[in-house]
């Protein structure tokens, strides 16, 4: 009897272990179910967080139980390419001002109620409380939605304000949709009238109305529905600190396309946990994770493990505070660019997740080639060249004494490179750069900030000389160049008007000049050019991108170090049908892949 009890207990443990390991086959009330195991790369699981997509740590997982109108494709140059989601299709007027959204006719919430235009309208109303590009309360803000009109139960029309933006469609289609019958009560009676006043009245009444709407933000974020009501392919079943379990939503409009019965989203506190999950074959998919070369070898060795790579419109750069000496001198910036061995830095810092930047253009190389064509090859590549660096330093008036470079007045020069301590790849890269500079007579040191938010706040205050900075955040050309010629460099959009604030104020830590001389173009205001990318024609966009890339290359507000590679991990032991290399789906979650008819259970 005792032995039988022990055996039963052992069997229970084995079963529990199998479930915990996220195997394809698990039992659920006696029936065998397929569980797809993954992680959410955008957030860690917080079991006490509400099931609310407006809450940054809410238990809503994009593509699974969190739905948008459409899913952005990973295209190098066109930000307006989308896969349909709750919006089956959309039409935009020729001038781009008006968008009609046609919802999926079969779309239903997990409680059986249909997804209607009213749900989208309420979602837009809630988005206004949170702010954002398409939902700015100032009607003069570029690309802000000015009017939302329900045409019928499945069609809604959104019109942007007078200050139009090419990014309007993309921002609109990215809207998260929530059920009006759950979230609608969060919008007070008369909300839409208040919104109108906030958008159009420039007096005290307008300010009061804005305060009312933004005052709703915390209430919306804190809202905690009793249960998940999802229009996605899955609905949250339960969540604990270790994992969230989602079950299939039978009312999903394309339910037949969904392979797994359940999805388990595992929690993680650091990359090392994801590495171990991958090595043990627990995950069917993990999004981009920074991985050392030796760990990558072990992951590749796991049964069924595959690595998919694709385009990721992000690059890492070393940016200068040009209001600090000697970095106000372009020759010093160029000298440093000639002394950074980007191949070696990338090999040390991001051997599996990055490719050395071909040059500094402000754009990921793949997008840069598409935007610039032959012009890309004409940019100065800044290959490692100590002789050129020395010439540039002499041109800046720097002095070489006893083998070390000093400031023009002979005082010591120490390059201080700042990085957030939690970004191990940046820390390694900064150390490699400082070692390289040391080899060529420049004293350099690495300084770390305790965490990323502290790093960003100190950076914005202008406390750093040099800091690591993400650039090239495409595909929208405006988004790409606003990283170099946007708020961080002094250009700010207020009420539809572009202004330039002095270094050290309003988040202007890059401190670059307002205008620069560009051969063939004369005196150019790069921030103004960047803002024009929002509304000019595609042909003009291409011309402006060319000019801005040249400015980035010649003026070097930042030295582009490496372009990220979107390295995804999949395991084909249990499921097949994953996107191939370079797929436009690679930046989307597995839930979206399933919605689009991919991911099938492996047949024995």
């Amino acid at each position: 009897m005792k032995r039988l009890a022990t055996f039963a207990a052992l069997m229970a443990i084995v079963t529990a272990t199998a479930t915990a390991c996220g195997g394809a086959a698990a039992t659920d009330a006696g029936a065998e179910v397929d569980v797809y195991t993954t992680i959410d790369g955008t957030k860690q699981i917080n079991a006490s967080a509400p099931i609310n997509p407006f809450n940054p740590v809410g238990s809503v997982f994009t593509g699974y139980n969190g739905m948008a109108l459409a899913w952005a494709r990973n295209h190098p140059t066109d930000p307006n390419r989308f896969y349909p989601a709750l919006a089956r299709s959309w039409t935009q007027s020729p001038d781009g001002a008006q968008v009609d959204i046609h919802l999926q006719p079969e779309a239903r919430w997990s409680d059986g109620k249909p997804v209607t235009s009213e749900d989208v309208r309420v979602s837009i109303g809630l988005a206004y409380t949170q702010g954002g590009t398409a939902y700015a309360l100032d009607p003069k803000a570029a690309g802000a939605a000015a009017d939302v009109r329900v045409l019928d139960a499945k069609t809604i029309r959104v019109t942007q304000g007078a200050n139009r933006s090419a990014a309007f469609l993309a921002n609109l289609l990215s809207t998260v949709v929530v059920p009006a019958h759950v979230y609608g009560a969060l919008l007070p009676r008369g909300f839409w009238d208040t919104l109108k006043v906030a958008q159009h009245d420039r007096g005290p009444a307008g300010e009061r109305a804005k305060a009312v709407i933004t005052g709703l933000a915390d209430k919306v974020i804190a809202f905690s529905p009793e249960q998940d009501v999802s229009a996605g392919p899955f609905v949250l079943e339960r969540v604990n600190p270790g994992a969230a379990l989602l079950r299939r939503n039978p009312y999903f409009y394309n339910s037949r396309a969904i392979g797994p019965d359940k999805v388990k989203v595992l929690n993680y506190t650091g990359n090392e946990q994801i590495w171990n999950y991958l090595i043990s074959g627990q995950l069917d998919n993990a999004p981009f994770t920074s991985v050392p070369a030796a760990v990558m070898e072990r992951i590749r060795g796991a049964r069924g493990s595959q690595v998919i790579t694709g385009y990721s419109p992000v690059a890492t750069s070393l940016a200068f505070n040009q209001s600090h000496k000697p970095y106000d001198n372009v020759h010093v910036r160029r000298a440093l660019a000639y002394l950074i061995d980007r191949e070696q830095v990338t090999r040390i810092a991001a051997p599996e997740g990055g490719t050395p930047a071909a040059t500094t253009s402000g754009i990921h190389a793949k997008a840069a080639r598409a935007w610039l064509g032959d012009g890309f090859a004409e940019l100065e590549p800044y290959r490692l060249d100590p002789a050129k660096a020395a010439a540039e330093l002499r041109a800046a008036g720097m002095k070489l004494r006893d083998g070390r470079w000093t400031m023009p007045d002979g005082s010591p020069w120490k390059v201080e490179i700042h990085v957030p301590a939690s970004f191990s790849d940046w820390v390694s890269a900064a150390k490699s750069i400082s070692s390289g500079l040391g080899d060529h007579g420049i004293d350099a040191t690495v300084l770390t900030a305790a965490d990323y938010s502290l790093y960003l706040s100190e950076l914005a205050k202008g406390e750093y000389d040099l800091g690591f900075w993400l650039i090239g955040l495409g595909p929208s050309p405006y988004n790409i160049f606003q990283r170099l010629f946007g708020q961080a460099n002094g250009w700010q959009m207020f009420g539809g008007r572009l202004t330039h604030v002095p270094p050290g104020t309003g988040g202007n830590w890059m401190g670059g000049p307002r205008t620069v001389e560009v051969a063939g173009e004369g005196l150019v205001d790069p921030g103004e050019l960047t803002s024009r990318l929002n509304y000019v024609s595609p042909g003009e966009q291409r011309r402006i991108v060319g000019v801005l890339a040249r400015i980035a290359n010649e003026q070097l507000p930042a030295v582009q170090l490496w372009d990220y590679v979107n390295t995804q991990f999949v395991n084909t032991s249990r499921y097949t049908g994953f996107p191939p290399d370079d797929s436009e789906m690679l930046r989307l979650s597995s839930g979206v892949w399933m919605q689009l008819g991919m991911i099938r259970k492996r047949q024995p």
């Binding site: 090392e272 030796a294 900064a430």
Partner: protein, 303 residues
């Protein structure tokens, strides 16, 4: 334990004899167990490493671009780090910061703790109450969370800054213990006698009470060094303190989070080298403390 002033040359000679006898006794105690000699050798090795280690290597440690995370070899006994730098060189050059911090912490902890404990215990009354409430406050401060917060505003670029903070956080325990000892000793006959002779308070505290507690204080000082090493290496490991490639905590951090040392063996030597250094330093200190215990405690002497 009475102190009688010995006049002139005779007094000096007697003190010299006492000193000679003391060091002979120390040598005898050390020789009694080989482990104690090993402890002294380890501590001496680290002291030499801290003083002369950085002088053995160039200011910019050489790197081998083609040997990232190289395995241990004759030229690199603990392999290389993420940029091909010899790990042993990093441990040796990094020892100065770690040891200086430990030393500064220990000195501050012991000096402050002893001063507060002696004064409070000897004076009693409202001074005792006030100082002990301060001590309670110090003991109640959660050290690590406070250091994490402090690190956001203070970069701790010098080991003395780090040592100062760790010392200011750690004196409470010693103050409490020294006060207890003082309360006990002050009732003894030799202190009564000193008082009766009208000797000044500074003499009673400095020449009568303090020598009686010297062994305890000395041992606490050594133990404080290990505590400080753990604390600062931990903070560097958490990544909240400034980056120095040769800092042992930074090495542990990079080995785990950048090299995947807990996942693959490639970066394991990079992880083990600073761990081994910390382990060895702790071992050395513990063995020396064992010897000190016997030197200062007559009951333990095995004549």
């Amino acid at each position: 334990m009475t102190v009688t002033a010995l006049p002139g040359a005779a007094g000096r000679s007697r003190r010299a004899t006492l000193r000679r006898n003391f060091w002979r006794g120390v040598w005898r105690v050390l020789r009694r167990k080989p482990s104690r000699m090993a402890g002294v050798a380890i501590c001496a090795l680290f002291a030499v490493m801290g003083v002369a280690g950085p002088l053995l290597y160039p200011a910019h440690l050489p790197r081998d671009d083609d040997a990232l995370y190289a395995p241990p070899s004759l030229s690199h006994p603990f392999g290389t780090d993420f940029e091909g730098t010899d790990v042993l060189a990093l441990v040796v050059t990094g020892s100065r910061y770690v040891l200086l911090t430990g030393l500064a912490t220990a000195v501050i902890t012991v000096a402050l703790g002893t001063a507060v404990g002696l004064f409070a215990g000897f004076r009693r009354g409202w001074q005792d109450t006030l100082l002990m409430r301060l001590t309670d406050l110090n003991l109640a401060i959660p050290g690590l969370p406070l250091l994490l917060v402090l690190s956001t505003v203070w970069k701790f670029e010098s080991p003395l800054e780090m040592g100062l903070v760790l010392g200011l956080l750690g004196w409470g325990g010693i103050a409490r213990a020294v006060r207890s000892q003082t309360l006990s000793l002050r009732e003894r006959g030799f202190i009564e006698a000193a008082r009766g002779l009208g000797l000044p308070t500074t003499h009673i505290i400095g020449r009568e009470l303090l020598p009686s507690m010297a062994p305890y204080i000395a041992m606490n000082m050594l133990i404080a060094v290990t505590g400080a090493v753990y604390a600062q290496v931990g903070l560097f490991f958490l990544g909240v303190l400034p980056f120095e490639a040769n800092n042992w905590g930074v090495m542990l951090n990079l080995a785990v989070f950048s090299g995947g040392a807990l996942t693959t063996p490639a970066a394991l030597p990079y992880l083990l080298a600073p761990l081994l250094a910390i382990l060895l330093l702790t071992l050395g200190i513990v063995l020396v403390v064992d010897a000190m215990d016997e030197i200062f405690n007559p009951r333990l002497r095995e004549e």
